[in-house]
């Protein structure tokens, strides 16, 4: 997958794609399906060292220097899109750089703006707060 390879070049400095890519493409029953971070921000509240932040444009980013490798964000991500590559305890995630969009030969991907208020319910229910 060209998108995965482009991603792993950015995030893991290799061309493996697959486990080293934040964006993943799977073959479903009716075509290809993408899983990737939707910037819901649940991980922000999981991090014991405040290594996850939402920057001004809205992207959720991980400060790898601050990270202490606990996998809380990886484990709790409701979409499983906080990833951990082999041979590392520091996770990585989509940073909305758009390289995957550029790399797709079929123009099948797009980077778009979303409304954060849509995510509040997901966030709080997954954090263990009762409905």
């Amino acid at each position: 997958m060209e998108c995965e390879i482009a991603c792993s070049k950015v995030l893991n400095k290799n061309e493996e794609g697959g486990e080293y890519s934040a964006i993943r493409i799977h073959e479903g029953k009716e075509g290809y399906v993408m899983t990737n971070c939707n910037m819901c921000g649940l991980c922000i509240d999981m991090c014991p060292v405040l290594a996850l932040k939402r920057i001004k444009v809205g992207t959720v980013t991980l400060d790898k220097k601050a990270c202490i490798g606990c996998q809380s964000c990886v484990g709790f991500c409701p979409r499983g899109v906080m990833r951990r590559a082999p041979d590392s305890v520091t996770p990585f995630k989509c940073i909305a750089c758009g390289k995957c969009v550029e790399a797709c030969p079929e123009n099948a991907l797009e980077l778009k703006e979303v409304d954060l208020d849509e995510f509040e319910e997901t966030v709080y229910s997954y954090l263990g707060v009762c409905e």
Binding site: L50, C70, Q71, F76, D87, V89, E120, L127, G128, C130
Partner: protein, 784 residues
Amino acid sequence: MSNKCQSTEVTTIGDRDTGFETGNTKHDWNLEKLEAGRKTIAEYEYESKPVVKGYANRTLFIDLDKNEIKEIPVTEDMKQKFTGGRGFGLKLLWDSIKPETRWDSPENGLVLTAGPMGGSTQYPGFGKTLSLTVSPSTDIICDSNAGGYFAPYMKFAGFDAVQIHGKAKDDVVVVIDGEENKVKIETGPDVEVNSHLAAEQLTHFYAVEDSEAARQRVAVVSAGKGAEHSYWGCLNISFYDPRRKVARLKQHGRGGLGTVLRDKKVKAIVARTKHFDGLTNAPLDADKVAEVGTKYHREIRDLDKDQCNMRTVGTGHLVEIMDDYDLLPTENYRFGSHPKANKIYSPHFYRIWTQVIPDGCWYGCTMQCAKAADGQKVMTGPYKGQVVTIDGPEYETLGCAANMSMWDPRWVLEFNFYCDTYGLDTISTGTGIAFYMEMYEYGILNKERCGGLELCFGNNDAVMEFIHRLAAGDNHEFIQVAGKGIRRVKDWLIEKGWGDPQLINDCGMESKGLEYSEYVTKESLAMQGGYGLTLKGPQHDEAWLIFMDMVNNQIPTFPDKAEALWYFPMWRTWFGLNGLCKLPWNDVEPADNAETDDPAKVPGHVQNYVEIFNGITGQNVDADGLIAQSERAYNWQRALNVWMGRGRRADDWIPYRSMGPVTEMEYFSRQERYDKQLVEKLGIPQDEVECMPLQEKMQKLYDWKQDQYQKLADAVYHRRGWTPNGVPTPQKMKALGFGDEAEMLAMLQQKIDEDEAAGLNEWGGKYQEDEEPPTTDMKYWEKW
């Protein structure tokens, strides 16, 4: 009762990136003044060495009499025999104290240790500190464990354990400094004593710069004024919370470790690490550890809210369950439930605890049961009016509240707050006060004898007044004795001739001199053993068998109970050897756990621990190998108990309040149940029971229950490899790998010979024709 909350309520956490405003009282610590007043009495510079597969490979020895600081290498033999954590502590104490050593002897050691797995971050519950000392309550070694950041930082700074002997001339702070690779003994007149201030002050003072990250790399161990004036002193271990911007506290509650800390004139022990990340604990196979950890995080994510709901209410959810099963101690364990208990059920605290915060007491714990109430105004005492964060209440503290008829969440928080900051164990304090309240009800204690305190059940003001007077060093006779705990008060009451000795001995819930923790065991013989046949005293860390026994009837026979009282103490001990919390083992269970061969053991999680132990240390043990680690430490500790004079059958005595109805009121409260027991268990015909006078019924039940406990002890001692008098046999010790510990084996043999000469190597139960003791070969261990 509803467990709902409004999701809009929780958005008061404010800015999620940088934390929120607790509203707590701000303190000006005047760090310059602290620095100016600081004097270094002794300093030891050491070579920085990395952790290797979970071990720092050296321990730290401090003698405050001589101001001596030195390092001792950890040998492979020590690791093989004692694993780490509590095991290391037992070994270090055996090497440095005498059987006559008492809590206030100068040579008594206060030991804090890490375990090889502690300090990893990828799996919940991996940050425990273990502590040990000779206890003022029991005169034998008491061990305790707590979360917070201390032991991992001590290990990363360079040491698997620290042992502090001797006593300082003036109050000192011991600093294990991973920034400068120095260990220091410092004086500081302006250093706080009470923990909610000491932890905060010292966290700020020792942070290498003014940043949240720097403050998170400091851990403080402290006690308080309460620990100076009672045997109930606890250690508080801090962990800095960057969202709340407060230093929070976990407790080494049991056994008087805080009392020893203050007796040695140590105000605090500080550990700071220069740096740490997910690999500082140096696991051999980090991938494996992260893989297993992530799998377990997902289990918690998906299952916790429908199981124990730990992430939201911590151990507080147990109050309603215990009340429902008649296991919640009320009015000094007279009853197992109360009509007012629902006033302190967890939904009341749901509104008080701040939610949606990572509350783990070590990084990576997503079970995060350490709940805290922010912005709480203190109602009484020297800190009245201050606004504080209160860590808790946990189940045990709520159980104490039930025991004292304290049915108001705000008072529970007040009790919790002051016990913590004064360095008082809530369990010992609560169970102690509950006993004094029952004595007050009977007129054995009264207002005059209690120095003006009206210690009736439900008098919350009197509870707090007692605690404040205790911490202030009040020299009224009652306060002085009461602070030493139930055993000393029993002796005092009997000496004064103020009440019936049998009643006093049977009501006061202590065994080996340590107060009971908060579960009613009258209907669970296995749990009576779970409290009485323990090493340190009646603390539930060794076994929690009530449901297995009473509710699910999974261990009906004596051999069944003995097996459970062998396996579970061994398994649960294992966590303390490795620096782990045991709650993640069974407070969340895999979805398919009920379908496994042995759901009570949660085999899926045992397997996780096997994989992670091997993944960190590079060893290749299986589940049986983990148990073997525990058997070594467990038997070593029992042997130390014997060595110090409290490790035999007579010392495993438990008060009758833990077994059955002491008073007529208790019999009447469960008359149907007890009458039925007389019929079904004792075989007395129904019509005879109906006509029998109450006192006779109570006596028959008493005799039977006492005999049941002795038979249980018989079965358990045999299963554990001990003599009929409860002494670990040299044969068992050799089989465990202690064959070259000549001094230990000789000591045990001598004690066994003494027991033989005194006719004590006999079974304690009275066996009828159709009953069998564990064996009729009375020297059974000599054949092993």
